[in-house]
Amino acid sequence: MNLSLNEVEGLAKKAARGAGYSWGLSEEAAKAARWLCSFGHHGCAYLADLLTQVDQHLLLLSPPVLDPNNWSAQHGQLCPITAGASLADHAHLLQQAQSISLQAVAVPTLLLPFGHLISRASEQTVQITWSDGSSVMDGTSFTLTGALPAGGDDLVVSKGGSMGLMQETHTRATPTQNEWDILQSFAARTYAPATEESRQRGAGDGSTRDD
């Protein structure tokens, strides 16, 4: 498929909401998916994977437990959206701490966009490292060394780091039909089934729509 980034963001927001995220977190999920797509990464695939795990109760949306520079889930793995949004909200803590560790992050690539938000907020580069690789964000672009993180990886977030080869920007997203269908099916949960009454009244009983 070949989609505009607004289509990705629009559907991703509805899909996250359909999977049970609050509206505010759904907006974060949508921006995260869009940001990954804007660098040619599979934002839709990661989000489809995450929402499926949430739907199957493999992942809880409860807030991370802070200890205080070592974040973990109450049960199982950390949700990258919930933890990522909290991490971005706590960007000021990174001023004092050397780093913050996130234990066992589900679909951890979805956490990278929050590093971008932190780098914009702090006007500094932000580095995220994991077992097989690392990434540095400067608020505009990001660099990637090694492989993308794998599900359940621990991530370490810290200020600083120098930019290497920048990721190329893309203006379109190219998810597979299957990934898109998964997002569509979650989004569909936010649509009210049409009834004859809602069809007539909901958009304004319209005399003379065709004169």
Binding site: G24, D89, T171, A192, P193, A194, S198, G202
Partner: protein
């Protein structure tokens, strides 16, 4: 000591952001249509019609190009033969009289072939990054057949019918910014000609109007060898109609920064003109000439909806009162525009106040037109929540925007009677009755006031100096509300200061606010939730567009 300039300040958000006032807004020289026609005239845009392959039955396609200093855009128009029973303006329609795409550049045969498989089916098809907009239009049954019939028999259409309807075709959607695969606004916003909001959409409609005139003449000629063309003065009166439904109401709630930028620019423009110490003769006479022409336009504005009829009666009373006042009022006195606005606030309804507030801007292009570059939303950082902000500051921001809503009983059924939702059917935005239909669980976050009060309640017990990040970690359901509250720092006019889910909310007020910034005139609500308007009525056609007529076309020549 240098005396501080005692400039008039902007009207307060508490005064401006009420639905009743927003629902009384009028177009102005800041409107998006007028920005476009001014630019095209100033830059000497060149227009052409390289393709017009339309058969005697009106079926076929045409291409219209608009060439600016740096780029060319092309309207690709498909004209169809639609049986009357299939004609509907609803989003749930599946066929139209004509369908369009605005193409980035000049399309090849291959592009047109690709578009011909997608544009006529609209939402069921796909466009690409080469397309900026996707849209469709239906004929006005009343005026279309009459006009072609008259032209075919060698006569012009009945002027009364032309005045009453105002358009031969009306668009029922103009999709832009990435919809159905089109180019994202973000990829185009750095082009000077597309920097202002909705310029691609406005160009689309401008070219659709030309296509509509040409198609009318073409069909009349095919009906009879004796046919005449539509007289230029009649064609110029005709605009393009537009049916706008509920979808626009969520738009202004969902884009608080963008909406703020439109409102604050207009408010700043009004404040600047009110601060003018002395109006020179040229400015006074331009104002007096345009207010007469505007009166003519208002005289041609009719509505069959009781709400608008009442508003029009008030507006007509206001217009009369304003002319009486101006008979004795000396515009060469000090601060004439401030006096006029103050007088209006004390003597006219919202319709009349907003009409005059828009009109006083007309003589002051040099003072206010530059502000239009601030109407777009380029602040992508507005999305980012500042988690270090104190709970106390968030409380203050919430109360600044929504203090008025603390008085409302948010448990009373009449105050939460409605719920905004999206239907499964073609994803049409709708407004339901919370206590009568099973829609509450599908509710969209379009009641910022209710949500703000809920957030304030949830904040109880949090220390004022605690960072809001702490609260957000425990209360993610309020995240969207905290984000909006923080936007208020630089978007003081971003929030509607009224209840958007009460039993008496009028969505048409939200539609009118948005459409007035497009530059629409003759608002004609057909229910409390959809409205017909007219766009480009009076505008010069591309071949006549010049710097002399690019601006004030919206005001018809005054009748005696």
């Amino acid at each position: 000591m240098i005396p501080v300039e005692d400039n008039i300040t902007r009207r307060s958000p508490d005064q401006v952001m009420r639905l009743k006032r927003l629902g009384s807004f009028h177009q102005s020289r800041l409107s998006f249509m007028r920005q476009l026609t001014r630019r095209m005239a100033n830059e000497n845009w060149v227009f052409s019609r390289p393709v017009f392959n339309i058969g005697p039955d009106g079926v076929g396609h045409a291409v219209y190009t608009a060439q600016g200093p740096d780029r060319t855009y092309s309207l690709v128009a498909f004209s169809h033969d639609l049986p009357d029973e299939d004609r509907s303006d609803r989003v749930i329609a599946e066929a139209w009289d004509a369908t369009f795409a605005l193409f980035d550049g000049v399309p090849t045969q291959t592009d047109i072939k690709r578009l011909s498989g997608n544009v006529p089916v609209q939402e069921a098809g796909r466009v690409t990054e080469r397309e900026l907009t996707l849209s469709r239009a239906n004929r006005s049954v009343r005026l279309w057949e009459h006009t072609i019939d008259r032209l075919a028999s060698g006569h012009q259409p009945d002027p009364d019918l032309i005045r009453q309807t105002g358009y031969l075709m009306r668009t029922t959607a103009v999709y832009g910014s990435g919809k159905f695969g089109a180019a994202d606004r973000e990829t185009l916003a750095d082009r000077a000609e597309l920097q202002a909001p909705f310029q691609a959409e406005m160009l689309t409609v401008y070219l659709i109007r030309t296509f509509t005139r040409d198609l009318t003449n073409h069909m009349a000629k095919n009906r009879s060898a004796d046919a005449v063309s539509l007289a230029p003065e009649i064609a110029q009166q005709l605009g393009i109609g537009n049916s706008t439904g509920l979808g626009m109401a969520p738009f202004i709630v969902n884009h608080p920064v963008l909406f703020n930028n439109w409102i604050i620019v207009r408010e700043e423009a009004i404040a600047r003109v009110r601060s003018v110490k002395h109006a020179i003769e040229k400015e006074r006479s331009l104002f007096l000439s345009l207010i007469k022409r505007s009166r003519t336009s208002i005289g041609n504005w009719h509505s069959s909806h009781p709400i608008q009829q009442e508003k029009l009666a008030q507006l007509n009373r206001d217009v009369k009162a304003a002319f009486r006042y101006l008979e004795d009022f000396d515009l060469s006195a000090e601060r004439p525009w401030d006096h006029l606005v103050t007088w209006a606030e004390n003597n006219l309804g919202e319709e009349g106040q907003e009409w005059l507030a828009s009109l006083i801007l007309e003589p002051y292009g040099a003072l206010v037109d530059g502000l239009t570059s601030c109407m777009a939303d380029s602040n992508s950082d507005a999305f980012r929540i500042d988690g270090a902000m104190s709970v106390g500051q968030v409380r203050t921001l919430l109360k600044q925007q929504f203090g008025w809503a603390e008085e409302i009983d948010w448990n009373a059924p009449e105050n939460i009677a409605r719920a905004w939702y999206v239907s499964e059917e073609k994803l049409e935005p709708r407004l339901g009755e919370r206590f009568e239909e099973p829609v509450a669980e599908y509710e969209q976050p379009l009641a910022p006031a209710r949500d703000a009060i809920a957030a304030l309640k949830a904040l109880t017990g949090y220390e004022n100096d605690a960072p809001i990040a702490q609260f957000l970690m425990q209360h993610h359901t309020h995240r969207h509300t905290i984000r909006r509250a923080q936007m208020a720092r630089f978007a003081p006019y971003g929030e509607i200061r009224d209840n958007t889910i009460s039993n008496d909310v009028l969505p048409i007020d939200m539609l009118r606010a948005k459409l007035s910034f497009f530059g629409a005139t003759h608002f004609d609500p057909r229910s409390d939730r959809w409205v017909r308007i007219c766009m480009y009525a009076g505008a010069p056609y591309p071949e006549d567009l010049n710097t002399g007529n690019a601006d004030f076309w919206v005001y018809p020549e005054a009748s005696a």
